[in-house]
């Protein structure tokens, strides 16, 4: 009996170590981090999306920025990467001087360079600078009569260089922008599950925190959300729903997974790293209402509890 008792007590003690994780998971912060707003003037943009004149050049030029998928995809599938949308904003053009800034993944960086007009093409090249470190060289050209800004980025020998093509975006906040079908998947959090298909052998697959069709049901920028709706949402849905409010205002996301997700939305243009002042009353109300549900879902959804 004695050894059994010792075994029992020891086993219990081991079990009790770190049990608090069973009833509560550490929740991530639901606050959008603010690291000081980088303020740039809103460029005067003409409504011409096809460039007829030098005046038409100023404005936001946005599009997907990253290496070609075919080149970068590893044989086993490089799931950890996605694409960011970049916004090359041409703020001011004076003679052959171009002033602007780039917005990508939570960062706003100014640039200044000379523009060369050759034939019907405008060309310029600038270096991206962040914290006094170079973030590569951007070489771009825009042709008269065209609607594309085509460019090339090279970041030195260690990273593959790539081309990009951006279009001019006339940004006017629109609360009606809907989330288009696109999956947010957090590849860093997986859970192994066994799947038994109707035919064939059982196999193990991983389940990730991902969004469902629920996020398309209501729009937190136009609809007052109900507690009934929020209470049945999972954490990824709540995360995307909340951040869709910021995305509509052109918030540029630092977290790569959020940046990738919203970069796939056709209406999304990264503009600012602080949109708090732009939020509408209905959005503020919904944000306040969503916060406890998101925190609760993060902490308790898959824990022992109710």
């Amino acid at each position: 009996m004695k050894p059994l008792l010792h075994f029992f007590v020891l086993g219990t003690l081991i079990c009790l170590q770190g049990c608090s994780g069973c009833i509560k998971k550490s929740g991530g912060s639901t606050q959008t981090s603010k690291s000081g707003k980088s303020k740039f003037p809103v460029p005067d943009a003409t409504t011409n999306l096809i460039i007829k004149d030098e005046k038409d050049l100023t404005g936001y030029w946005a599009g997907i920025f990253g290496p070609d998928k075919a080149d970068s995809l590893e044989e086993d599938g490089d799931y950890e990467s996605g694409y960011n949308k970049i916004n090359i904003s041409l703020d001011h053009i004076d003679g052959d001087q171009v002033e602007g800034h780039i917005v990508i993944q939570g960062k706003l960086r100014p640039f200044k360079c000379n523009m060369i007009k050759s034939g019907s093409k405008y060309r310029f090249s600038f270096k991206g600078v962040s914290d006094e470190k170079s973030t590569g060289t951007y070489t771009v050209s825009i042709a008269k009569g065209d609607s594309l800004l085509t460019g090339h980025w090279s970041g030195g020998d260690k990273v593959p260089s790539h081309d990009f093509a951006l279009t001019k975006k006339l940004f006017n906040y629109n609360p009606d922008w809907k989330l288009e079908e696109s999956s947010y998947i957090d590849w860093s959090k997986s859970k192994k599950i066994n799947i038994k298909p109707d035919s064939g052998e059982t196999y193990t697959d991983a389940r990730y925190a991902t969004t469902s069709a629920e996020v398309q049901k209501y729009n937190p920028s136009t609809d007052v959300l109900t507690t009934k709706y929020l209470a049945n949402l999972k954490k990824a849905d709540l995360l995307i729903l909340r951040n869709s409010i910021f995305a509509r205002h052109g918030y540029t996301f630092k977290k790569s997974r959020l940046s990738w997700y919203f970069s796939e939305q056709s209406w999304y243009v990264p503009i600012s790293n602080d949109v708090t002042a732009e939020l509408t009353p209905i959005e503020k109300q919904n944000l306040k209402m969503m916060a406890p549900y998101e925190k609760y879902a993060q902490e308790f959804y898959d824990a022992f509890g109710r």
Partner: protein, 215 residues
């Protein structure tokens, strides 16, 4: 002497059963500790903002949470034969804590919480029925022992404790269902608000039937 000693020893099966109970009770204790000191902005209460403003809900909630722990543990002391036979005083006094705790505090407060429960009518109905049966079964058990009928006392107390343990089984079911199917939080809540206690009650009936006259 040899025989009676054997009789008092817990069998391996019993030990495992109590280990399980102790483990989940410990998790329950951790859940309860989140509400000490009294606060309404943590855990379950953070999504109950619509009702935590009401004094009677807060009183019911904290009465339920704090009494629940004592009920769970005092209930656990009722079943080992050696306590009942060797230390009847412990059995009686912990029994008074258990039954008084349920009938006067944890049961009625559970009914109030059930009325304001999450998950709409589906879950509210489940929780209200659970609270009423919990009080009723416990009362029947008390009445039976006052009348001196040990067998009937045992039967109703099995049922009563089965409902007490729904606190653990509801949470364990929820954890398991989320692990297996990853349903929406409220969808799983609808299921466990019923499954959490009906399963236990079924098990209690099976045990009562199986022991039959040996009770």
């Amino acid at each position: 002497m040899q025989l009676s000693k054997k009789h008092y020893l817990l069998t391996a099966g019993n030990a495992l059963w109590y280990a399980c109970l102790m483990f989940f009770s410990y998790l329950m204790l951790l859940i309860t500790l989140q509400y000490i000191p009294v606060r309404t902005d943590v855990a379950f209460l953070q999504i109950k903002g619509d009702v935590t403003g009401m004094l009677h809900y807060r009183v019911a909630f904290f009465a339920h949470v704090y009494t629940g722990m004592f009920v769970l543990l005092s209930g656990m002391l009722q079943f080992p034969a050696f306590i009942r036979q060797r230390f009847p005083t412990i059995h009686k006094w912990s029994g008074r804590i258990y039954t008084g705790g349920i009938i006067l505090l944890a049961g009625p407060s559970g009914l109030i919480m059930g009325y304001y429960g999450n998950g709409g009518l589906v879950s509210q109905t489940a929780f209200c029925i659970l609270a009423v049966l919990w009080i009723a079964f416990t009362w029947k058990g008390v009445a039976a022992i006052w009348a001196g009928d040990v067998r009937v006392h045992k039967i109703w107390m099995y049922r009563s404790y089965a409902l007490t343990l729904s606190a653990l089984s509801l949470r364990a079911w929820k954890w398991l269902l989320v692990l297996l199917f990853a349903p929406g939080p409220m969808d799983v809540y609808h299921v466990v608000s019923w499954l959490g206690w009906t399963g236990n009650l079924l098990m209690a009936e099976v045990i009562i039937r199986a022991r039959g006259n040996k009770l």
